[in-house]
Symmetry: C2
Subunit: 249 residues, 2 copies
Amino acid sequence: AALESQTKEIKPKIGAFLAVMSGKGGVGKSSVTALLAAGLQRKGFKVGILDADITGPSIPRIMGVSGRITLENGKMVPPLSAGGIRVISANLLLDREDYALVWRGPMISNAIRQFWENTFWGKLDYLLLDLPPGTSDAPLTIMQMLPDTDVLIVTSPQVLASMIVRKAINMARRVGARVMGVVENMGTAVCPRCGETFELFRGEGTESILRDLGLPLLGKIPYDQRISDLCDIGAIETYESEAVETMVA
Amino acid sequence: AALESQTKEIKPKIGAFLAVMSGKGGVGKSSVTALLAAGLQRKGFKVGILDADITGPSIPRIMGVSGRITLENGKMVPPLSAGGIRVISANLLLDREDYALVWRGPMISNAIRQFWENTFWGKLDYLLLDLPPGTSDAPLTIMQMLPDTDVLIVTSPQVLASMIVRKAINMARRVGARVMGVVENMGTAVCPRCGETFELFRGEGTESILRDLGLPLLGKIPYDQRISDLCDIGAIETYESEAVETMVA
Ligand SMILES: Nc1ncnc2c1ncn2[C@@H]1O[C@H](COP(=O)(O)OP(=O)(O)O)[C@@H](O)[C@H]1O
Ligand SMILES: Nc1ncnc2c1ncn2[C@@H]1O[C@H](COP(=O)(O)OP(=O)(O)O)[C@@H](O)[C@H]1O
Ligand SMILES: [Zn+2]
């Protein structure tokens, strides 16, 4: 029995790996990762999040997780969010959340490898991986270490964002990862006074990506002040909207 | 005469180095870098921009620069923007702006070193350096290579952004760089229909940084749809506002 529990752990049962990527910072990768994880958990799936943004980790704050990572049998045990989602992040190893880890590429790759190999993930239906901006060490390490990972792309409509997001898609395809589709975030906003819906960030960016790169639009999340407020207080799991439910369906 | 021109170039006459940093992606580092550069150039200063975001370079697109980098005497000659600002960026070395450079840390550091050492910058009053998100290879290479660089921090008001931005400030101080102050970007927005000013991103984030870390607020740039539109068409140099002029003063 002991051996079985050891070997089982070597090949943890993870149903599917999903890397959330954009290349461009600030389009909402971490928020979309959290909304997606919470939506999947609400539907009854077992979900974990690996925060691969080692020097800019937002997941613990967004998910309201501040518990320390404990060690059992030499493996890291991810603390749980209020909704039962397992979370591993560099910020859960620090005494202060604003402490700077000033690490170069090799250290970053090593940390990501540890987060996958040295963590007791247990049985999960989905392991989401929140990637940092850029096409450097973190996404490359993930795609080489977990070649079955599917990639979900997050963008916002402006042309500037889509130009950088295309780089991320081109990278994923060059490395052989399957790109599932695109979620557009923060396109339109509603005025809190007169209720007018207007374009916060506008442009042909998203349509041009879907058309030129042959990808489906998997979701459109409007700008909503509640999302930003809930992220700041670590209660994103309480946010429900039609846009999120459609994405998860 | 030839020797003099050679040695002169070894120690190019740069009046001041200013690294624009945030740690957090999407708060507007590149846009603020461009607005600041254009504002300084309008006042008669000679300005250059080194785009240190090697895998996510936005400066050429924002500044409307698409000319190739040419070589003279083995040194790179930065193309000029419409307003005469010299720009060096990884995207100016690529045939397609959406081509992904999938480079790990050492290659990124090397590219940044080349952008400084192997470029004919000539005489400049200011060299602005646009840093990528995070506290990894790029900011570390810049701060070690150019120890006299001052750091300008860009943030937006939400707590999530400020938590990561504090990491960037902590890093800069730990490495011995002087942090000049903070520019808050995209805090308030104006409804295009009823003219109501409302908080786009809100939170105590910026005040807490200024108070806890003892830094001055150097500027506050509201959300303005024109900024995003002008960035997309490469005409940010045509944007003038009181907020930008105050920042430059
Ligand atoms: N749809 C949205 N509506 C309002 N605010 C949002 C939305 N999506 C993200 N945000 C906010 O925008 C900021 C940037 O999002 P984040 O998820 O950190 O982006 P990234 O991970 O791409 O850098 C955060 O403060 C977040 O709360
Ligand atoms: N004050 C502003 N008002 C409106 N849009 C802005 C403003 N500042 C930046 N933007 C837009 O927000 C997006 C992110 O800005 P960017 O400068 O690329 O951020 P960063 O360099 O921090 O990732 C860009 O599309 C940019 O045009
Ligand atoms: Zn209105």
